[in-house]
């Protein structure tokens, strides 16, 4: 267990049972390679937590383990204080834990509206529902339209997902995650591959939905500008381990982080 702490010092976390999302000793091994190594994390309700780290640090694997897309090799996961280590992936959205993907994962042949509507329907009817009566189009459309409106995709609702621009695909991914009606949302590089204008728009969008919905957010991001400007606290991963956790200022000032991630400018070789 991590220290019970207010989380002021870098590298420490609050109690997992008080947090919206938490993990203790979370570990994921692939053969000989340890991708996530004994990670303790506790994100308090309402916080925007950024996860940074060099390529191959295990950030996406951490997300996959937290959402049980990959079963962890060891450790426990917590959601709003409840242990969820063995809860299957498909049940987690129904408990309020949603995610978006690094690459654009969509139901490619379906329209934008259908993509979101199916998630709304799933969110309201559970992991499995017969739902043989009724019309797949008319139910849940209003809610889906509302979500599309909030991410700015209303005008493209009848476009087939695979024909969207890269930026709109990212928006749709976020819209689908929001459609699960989450309390905790994990976003995996929501701005990757976007130009600076679109990056700004997505950043604004993230900020807006967080404020409007009171979400707890966890975000993998490479753009330090974004990370420093929007996150409440930052967790730095390196080679699967948590190097430090703290406010942007604390992390920037941390020598270890400087050395390992930010390029080690002062290091002499």
């Amino acid at each position: 267990m991590p220290e019970t702490d207010t989380g002021e010092r870098p590298g420490t976390e609050a109690d997992v049972t008080d947090a919206a999302l938490g993990a203790t000793g979370l570990t994921k091994r692939f053969g000989g390679i340890v991708a996530v190594d004994d990670v303790n994390i506790a994100v308090p309700t309402g916080e925007l937590r950024a996860v940074i780290g060099p390529n191959g640090a295990g950030k996406t694997t951490l997300f996959n383990t937290l959402t049980h897309a990959l079963a962890p090799t060891g450790g426990e996961g917590y959601l709003h204080g409840e242990e969820i280590t063995h809860v299957p992936q498909e049940q987690r959205p129904h408990r309020g834990l949603a995610r978006s993907f690094q690459s654009n994962e969509l139901f490619n042949e379906l329209t934008v509206l259908e993509n979101v509507r199916i998630v709304v329907q799933t969110s309201e009817t559970g992991t499995f529902s017969f739902g043989l009566l009724g019309d797949g189009r008319s139910q849940h459309v209003d809610r889906a339209s509302e979500i599309l409106e909030s991410v700015g995709l209303s005008r493209k609702r009848e476009t087939t997902a695979k024909n969207l621009s890269h930026g709109d695909q990212r928006r749709l991914g976020i819209a689908m995650a929001l459609a699960t009606d989450p309390s905790v949302l994990l976003l995996d590089e929501p701005t990757s591959g976007l130009g600076s204008k679109e990056t700004g728009q997505i950043t604004d969008l993230i900020r807006t939905v967080q404020e409007d919905l009171g979400l707890t957010l966890m975000l993998i991001e490479h753009d330090m500008g974004i990370v420093l400007s929007i996150s409440d606290r930052i967790t730095v991963l390196n080679r699967g381990r948590v190097l430090a956790t703290g406010t942007p200022a604390e992390v920037q000032a941390n020598q270890e982080v400087q050395d390992a991630y930010l390029g080690g400018m002062k290091e002499e070789i």
Binding site: P88, E90, Q91, G126, F128
Partner: protein, 340 residues
């Protein structure tokens, strides 16, 4: 919510039950061998020949699947063509068996080139289902063409004198063509093994299976290798067809019958494992031929005639596959993540 347990997660703590099963099997084997030695040897040899023919087809299937990611349903049609070409050579043109044995598979190899260049190369890196469907259509075409050219009635060819005689083993007589089949199959299997595991060509093929593009970056022209391996697979299937056709004759149904069983062999052995295919081929050939004998032995011991299910031999390969896949989802020697 998720009350349905996922199948295939059984534990390995069945040692007592396993021991019981093995000892019953051993007992029945001994009983069958003692009470009807002639029949027993016949069935063992029959299973061996049948299994090796399946392995000859499965080798090509397995290579094409591993290398190109294509489930080649038309491979059984190539096997059938081997048999019919040998008929064309021997019965129609009067060429000797020994020449047909070499020439017919080579012509099948040519058909393989046409199939690869004409159809399959458009399906690389596509959904594996498309490859399966397209080759399924090809096998239909080849089947109809065969019917149009040689007619729907079964055909047979005469084996050369030296192979047509029986060999007296004391308790039973064995057709020499069957022993010849075993000999040729073993040589071919060994040669394929050596080619793939011991030569530089084989090394580049194995690398191509693991990461085609990386092998190309290192200077390997994978296309040439793909075509050669496809043709090799086709030729071996053709050879199997010649041997089978000479031993028991041929008909237009042999395509479907053998391709399905060869798939069963590949899946049971584990996709991507040549060694697995060999083991599974022998396992399936053996069980298909020995199960009826064992059941009839059991029936005569226990006096329960119901045990002696007629025609069970045809079902056994499928039962073996169902059991193997439910216990070991990737087959006996399959690799993680392959085509899942």
């Amino acid at each position: 919510m998720n009350e349905i347990p996922l199948p295939g997660s059984s534990s390995r703590s069945l040692s007592l039950a396993e021991a019981a099963i093995w000892s019953v099997l051993l007992l029945v084997t001994v009983l069958s061998a003692v009470t009807r030695p002639g029949l027993f040897v016949d069935q063992v040899l029959g299973g061996l020949v049948y299994g090796l023919i399946l392995v000859l087809i499965a080798l090509g299937l397995s290579i094409v699947l591993g290398l190109l990611g294509i489930v080649n349903f038309a491979h059984g049609a190539l096997f059938m063509l081997g048999a019919y070409f040998s008929y064309q050579f021997m019965a129609v043109w009067g060429v000797s068996f020994w020449i047909a044995l070499i020439a017919a598979p080579l012509v099948v190899g040519l058909v393989g080139v046409v199939i690869e260049r004409g159809v399959l190369r458009y399906l690389y890196d596509e959904d594996p289902l498309n490859g399966l469907l397209a080759t399924f259509g090809l096998s239909l075409m080849i089947g109809e063409a065969t019917r149009a050219i040689w007619g729907g009635a079964p055909k047979s060819v005469a084996a050369p004198q030296i192979l047509s005689k029986g060999m007296d083993l004391g308790i039973t007589t064995v057709a020499r063509i069957r022993l010849f089949t075993v000999l040729v199959a073993v040589i071919v299997i060994a040669a394929v093994y050596l080619l793939i595991e011991r030569t530089d060509f084989g090394l580049s093929v194995r690398a191509g299976v693991l990461d085609r593009e990386m092998a190309e970056f290192l200077g390997v022209n994978m296309n040439v290798r793909f075509i050669s391996m496809f043709v090799l697979g086709a030729t071996i299937a053709g050879l199997g067809g010649v041997l089978r056709g000479t031993a028991v004759g041929m008909d237009v149904a042999m395509d479907e019958q053998f391709i399905i069983l060869a798939f069963v062999v590949v899946v049971v052995g584990g996709i991507g494992s040549l060694f697995g295919s060999v083991v599974a081929g022998l396992l399936i050939g053996g069980t298909a031929y020995l199960t009826p004998l064992y059941l009839s032995t059991l029936a005569s011991i226990t006096n329960i005639e119901a045990i002696n299910v007629p025609g069970i031999g045809g079902l056994v390969p499928y039962l073996v596959m169902i059991v193997v896949l439910l216990v070991r989802p990737r087959g006996l020697f399959g690799q993680e993540g392959f085509l899942e």
